[in-house]
């Protein structure tokens, strides 16, 4: 167990995204095509990728939308992931940097409308954005800024769902591609707020500066939410490529020996603490474990918690968050949740539950209009792998932590609207 001891906290990173002074310098005007092409090339050279979970190259997305007529820019700060707070913290701490990025993206793609979306429950974020937009009145020439409060559902922030809601529909995914047909039928650039904040920094300081942090493949800093068995849970800015051990040290270190980490969010992957603790926090190094940075969420599961029981609660929640549009998701996720609860409950049915899961997962994985079914099966598959030793105990009718308070937060259900 010596590999899992706690180290002294590391010196904190000089913040970029969470520093108010990051908005001090003026933004490039971008009135000439040559200037715009120069910045697009800088963004490409910076290697910036989407910070919302998808990880798509930002420059490619910008170029695709720029090809269309009268595009629209949507800054996505909805952060429907219940355990994640990094976008909420960024919006509250630095709304102007987010808006700088959205305005810059609008100038790059030729948009005159910018919509900034935050979750309805994020009152602090909505207020910060509205205040910032009011402060900027008259500054962003030729750009109309709007702030909207989007429904608080898990899939509402999925870009197609968000576009559908902005078009007056429910916040449920569609099969349209926003970069072709988005808000008001116009090509729409939907970018996570942290991605846009980085874009504003690159516009001011350039690609080389951006690459001073991070790894050559995954440059820059990142906001991460860390919860579970750490002394100071919350959000911090880290350098990509920092080992998970040092990331945790930045949150005050571990309060208990962890057995596993949930990486990426409720769409994410369980990894054993032993396998992951000394890996650099990058997609590249996590790939062999089947994990990725995803929504940049790390939950440290202490030894006395039950990974199966925790996963069962989250899978039930994900099933109830199905938009009910695709049969394989609407029927499949609750079926998986029921089988997983049987397994975690340590009943005599556990062996059948395991067999049932092995039949259900391939019927759900990779299907549907959004990635909810695939995310849920990824979580389930990784739980069965990482907590395999517990599966045996549960099959024999023993749960390791039947009375412990939950580590993974799950919101109250049925209280949020779709529109």
């Amino acid at each position: 167990m010596s590999a899992l001891t706690v180290r002294e906290p590391q010196l904190a990173l000089e913040p970029r995204l969470l520093s108010r002074t990051s908005c001090a310098a003026p933004l490039p005007a971008l009135s000439r095509a040559r200037e715009r092409e120069h910045l697009l090339a800088e963004i490409e050279a910076s290697g910036l990728t989407g910070r919302g979970g998808g990880g798509f190259p930002t420059a490619t997305k910008l170029r695709a939308v720029a090809l269309g007529r009268s595009p629209i820019v949507v800054a996505n700060g909805t952060e429907g992931e219940p355990a994640s707070s990094k976008d909420k913290v960024l919006i509250a701490a630095n709304p102007h940097l987010v808006i700088d990025g959205a305005v810059t993206a609008a100038r790059l793609v030729g948009a005159t409308d910018v919509v900034i979306a935050a979750g309805r429950a994020d009152g602090r974020g909505i207020a910060a954005l509205e205040h910032a937009v009011a402060e900027r009145r008259g500054f962003d020439q030729g750009i109309a800024l709007g702030v909207v409060a989007a429904p608080d559902r898990f899939v509402a922030g999925e870009e197609k769902a968000l576009v559908n809601w902005l078009n007056g529909g429910q916040a449920k995914p569609t099969v349209d591609r926003p970069f072709e047909r988005g808000v008001r039928g116009r090509p729409t650039l939907v970018q996570n707020v942290e991605t846009l904040a980085n874009l504003a920094l690159i516009a001011r300081h350039g690609a080389d500066w951006f690459r001073e942090l991070g790894t050559p493949q995954e440059p820059g800093s990142a906001l991460v939410t860390v919860r579970g068995a750490v002394r100071a849970p919350g959000v911090a800015e880290i350098e990509l490529g920092t080992t998970l051990r040092d990331v945790l040290a930045g949150f005050g270190g571990l309060t208990a020996i962890p057995q596993a980490f949930l990486l990426g969010g409720y769409f994410g992957t369980w990894v054993s603490a032993r396998d992951a603790l000394d890996l650099p926090f990058t997609n590249e190094s996590l790939r062999p474990l089947g994990a990725s940075l995803g929504a940049r969420l790390v939950i440290a599961l202490p030894q006395d918690a039950c990974g199966l029981a925790e996963t069962a609660r989250v899978v039930r929640y994900l099933g109830r968050e199905s938009a009910g549009q695709c049969g394989s998701c609407y029927f499949g996720l609750p079926a998986i949740a029921t089988a997983f609860e049987m397994l975690a409950g340590g009943t005599a049915d556990a062996p059948q539950a395991l067999e049932r899961l092995s039949r259900l997962v391939p019927q759900v994985e990779g299907r549907g209009a959004c990635s909810l079914p695939t995310g849920a099966t990824r979580l389930v598959t990784s739980a069965l792998r990482v907590f395999a030793h517990e599966v045996d105990g549960h099959r024999a009718g023993r749960c390791c932590a039947p009375r412990r308070p939950a580590v993974l937060p799950v919101p109250d259900l049925h209280e949020h609207e779709w529109s």
Partner: protein, 76 residues
Amino acid sequence: MSRHIRVNPILCDGFGQCAELLPELIELDEWGYPIVSEAPVPASLEAEARQAIALCPRLALTLERRRAAQPLGAAR
């Protein structure tokens, strides 16, 4: 360029006719919704594929031309 069957999972209501007309490429999950093969539609099955598409009561199937690289943000 190859042709593939694509299902719009939101439109689909699980009538299941497609799997009867084209069992080589379409099977149903246990709730009756089609799982469509990623494989290209072979020339020998093109007539059956077109019939399955035309007879879907929800018009949820399409024949999609696909290049080697996947398009940006393709729905599954």
